[in-house]
Assembly symmetry: none
Homo-oligomer: 526 residues x 2
């Protein structure tokens, strides 16, 4: 079976709250979709806004290996001649090989939203399709609200797509625009339409009932050959069908060769690339491509995966460019810890008994608010500190932090009157460093003072930069005595590592995570 992959990230995906794409963003996404092997990219509504005008202008100069660009828009407006419709003319001016034409299949929408007659709507569809066909375009006809329309008035919905087919449409795309139709209904209706018309069918689903991917596959099994979706499922309301999940399911689960093996292996990277561009943090749990999609936290699962790779994984993660991870937590068993020790190259330095002790220690620490899942460097240090003969590169003697406000805090949050100062005393070998620094908050002051104290002994610390600082209250529902957990992400320009601290005193929690970050860097250097 041959399936056409049709992406609408640039049009339907961009309707998601918080997404706003420049023409340059759209070009980048188009190039990445081309590499992924997608067949059609819906570029936007030509003429509707300056960004889409620029996109269609610039895309003309580019050539692609796989992708063909489609220009989107409605059927002609009611009561005018198709050649007088500005939107239809704008679509022609975009000079794309393909156009996508959206029209109404639901009598409710025709009568109450468009406020025209059922006959005029059919004429609008027929006129628009045949006009664009005469101009030599491939025409995809998107039948909006097709399934809801069919359930309310099957005859009219069918008639609306038959009219498009007779006017020469190349594909009839049946849309579950409101996203609420059940899988079984989708399958039945697609089959029925397939028996009524000979034109090939497409499917366009939304996630409002949490079933867009399954509904898309059900339509394919019922005969649809074009699948529409968006990267990462972006889209208005609950989003569109996730095209990446669809691609993986078609290829891996249904054996339909819609992309090559190499292209499929780029799936995870494509997901992250686009999420960077739209500036929405990747969903770690996203099927196939999430950072947690092949993570094992439960002790039994981790132990089983160590024995039989596929025991708790539905596919080999490398197929989609992802990787297995074993997570360390209080739910871990000895197996998770052993696995991590192997990764750290410390397995031979830690006895079986010490592994049990480590597991106990881990549980105690987690009950105090520590969490090592996102702080593997702190776990690494916990292991090393338990190994005989470990010498930490520095030793904290004491510290003091002072935050002073010497006039009324201005209610608008300006900080000119705030002073934050930290004093630290640190031992390196036999030397005692005692120094102080300011910062624009107490944690920043501590950070500055600690680096200042250590830089003489360890000039390489200069390379270490903090990338991220996160604070989370662990036991919500408490007052200001609540325990907080601080996670710090650091880099030396090459590697990245994360450390954790936890305490009801946020300064102390931050201090722990900071000190771990620098200690980890220093021992890795040795």
């Amino acid at each position: 079976m041959e399936i056409q992959l049709y992406d609408t990230t640039l049009r339907d995906g961009a309707q998601q709250e918080g997404i706003s794409l420049s023409a340059e963003d759209k070009l980048k996404i188009t190039r990445r979709l081309d590499e992924l092997g997608v067949h059609y990219v819906e570029g936007g509504w030509p003429g509707s806004n300056p960004k889409d005008v620029e996109y269609f202008q610039r895309i003309k100069a580019l050539s692609f290996s796989n992708v063909r660009i489609s220009a989107f828009g409605s059927t002609r407006r009611t009561g005018i001649r198709v050649e007088d419709d500005g939107n239809i003319q704008a679509r022609l001016a975009a000079e794309t090989p393909d156009v996508t034409l959206v029209g109404k299949s639901s009598d409710l929408h025709v009568l109450r939203v468009l406020e025209t007659t059922l006959e005029e709507n059919l004429a609008m569809i027929a006129d628009s399709v045949s006009f664009l066909k005469k101009q030599g375009r491939t025409v995809f006809y998107d039948a909006e609200h097709f399934f809801d329309g069919f359930k309310a008035n099957a005859e009219y919905a069918l008639q609306s797509v038959k009219v498009a087919a007779e006017a020469g449409a190349d594909c009839l795309v049946l849309c579950d625009t409101n996203g609420g139709v059940l899988t079984a209904e989708i399958a039945d209706i697609v089959s029925l339409v397939g028996r009524e018309v000979k034109t090939s069918l497409g499917i366009h689903c939304h996630s409002d009932a949490d079933m867009a991917v399954a509904n898309t596959l059900a339509a394919v099994m019922a005969g649809a050959t074009q699948v529409q979706g968006t990267v990462n499922g972006y889209g208005e309301r609950c989003g569109n069908a996730n095209l990446l999940s669809i691609i993986a399911n078609l290829k891996v689960k249904m054996g339909i060769p819609c992309v090559t093996d190499e292209q499929l292996a780029g799936l995870t990277e494509a997901s992250h690339y686009v999420s960077e561009i739209v500036n929405i943090p990747p969903n770690g749990q996203q099927p196939y491509v999430g950072v947690s999609s092949f993570s094992h936290k439960g002790g039994l699962h981790a132990a089983a995966v160590a024995k039989v790779e596929g025991s708790y994984q539905h596919i080999d993660p490398e197929t989609v460019g992802n990787a297995k991870r074993v997570v360390i937590s209080e739910l871990s068993g000895r197996g998770n810890i052993q696995h991590r020790l192997n990764e750290l190259g410390l397995a031979d330095k830690v006895s079986r008994e010490q592994v049990v002790n480590l597991l106990d220690k881990l549980k105690v620490q987690e009950s105090k608010g520590f969490q090592y899942e996102g702080a593997e460097a702190s776990f690494d240090l916990m292991v090393r500190r338990g190994i005989e003969g470990y010498k930490p590169p520095f030793d904290m003697v004491d510290f003091m932090v002072l935050v002073e406000n010497h006039r009324r805090v201005p209610t608008n949050g300006d900080q000119e009157d705030m002073l934050s100062e930290a004093v630290v005393k640190v031992r390196v070998g036999s030397q005692l460093m005692h120094t102080a620094a300011e910062g624009n908050g107490p944690v920043n002051a501590l950070d500055n003072a600690l680096r200042k104290a250590l830089l003489g002994s360890y000039p390489s610390l200069d390379q270490v930069k903090l990338l991220d600082y996160k604070v989370r209250v662990v036991d919500q529902g408490q007052d200001t005595r609540a325990v907080v957990r601080v996670l710090i992400e650091s880099t030396d320009g090459k590697a990245q590592w994360q450390t954790v601290g936890s305490s009801s005193n946020i300064i102390e929690a931050s201090w722990m995570a900071l000190a771990d970050s620098l200690e980890y860097f220093l021992i890795r250097q040795e």
Copy 2:
């Protein structure tokens, strides 16, 4: 059709990376699930860790309207008598009416993961089920990897559940443990099993192929009567089937009365409540319950929805306790503010011009990290401070916070060496109060010192208690200079109110929220 709703948030959901639930958290979630009308709650693995021990101990004293608690664990271990199995004994000791027993259906897992014989596995299932039945428990038998096992060796998979049925299991729950099975396969296999055994069937799906909800519904249509899932779809890897989506689909789309209309109307609130407890920000796009699930981003859709409410919504959002939102331009902000002023009873004290100024101020504040959606008391104060003649009940002159550590910070997080001290200077009328207090963290110390300074003038402050203290980093991706937002929830035993502070200095942000909380209480008293 009658459907049993079975929640495993506390066990399978807690396997999600980043989730760590205390016994108290688990009790709170259980109570909320009871209100929602869920029939079974899987509490955890009795005896496996101190939190689950505490949960099963404390739950005994509670009674519920709908929920029955189930204790989870494996069949007996290989090669021992069932009565000698510690885990099975721990399940009995939990004294729950129901137990859930997980066993193997896949020959691969029996031979290569459990490393026992196919016969011994069947004996393990039979022994464990009949032993627990003899103790008077309802036994749910979770057939792990049932679908994968069936696809590889249908005869053995079927035999494994038949053995459980013959031993008296009350329900055979077919599990897609790895989450990769297609909807059509689920439907076929459930139907087939239903023809082979008379015991009622359950379904347990995971989201690895992005189809868990659809797969669950397909199983129900094929005859399954128990559905397992987790709140918000929490779970290992890509998560479990989202029980909230399932409930809404069963009730609204399939007409199965699994919860009452009132319970369904609590769906959105239940989702947000649990996301607060697990401390994972709610997904705005989550089907049915997300803040964007019924949002219309302007243009054609918003206009259509204004004409015909259901034109771009699959259901009436109020059915699930959600609401329509029209995402509109900044121009409509004035309307929002006016709406809020009416609610506060301040509309007649604020001129049209002042409303415009307030809107500008709001935008400036939000750009600095403040957020008034969850902090209406701080918004109220911002309004009042702009009204001529407003006299604040107290005036901050200055403060100082000192955090000292006078020996090495113990790596296990003990705090005996930490000192946190705050000095505050506050003016009340013509009096200047200057005092100091300690606390078990800098914010707690500030809180204590401020109350101490004010209590003489305002003895009623005694009634004010802080309920919750939350910290969120606003601009993630920054280092320790990141801006943090502090939200504080307070009560006087009757009303509750929330206040906000924001700064790159966490002490200052906390101070702002604290001072607002007390000021708000005092002006409301007048």
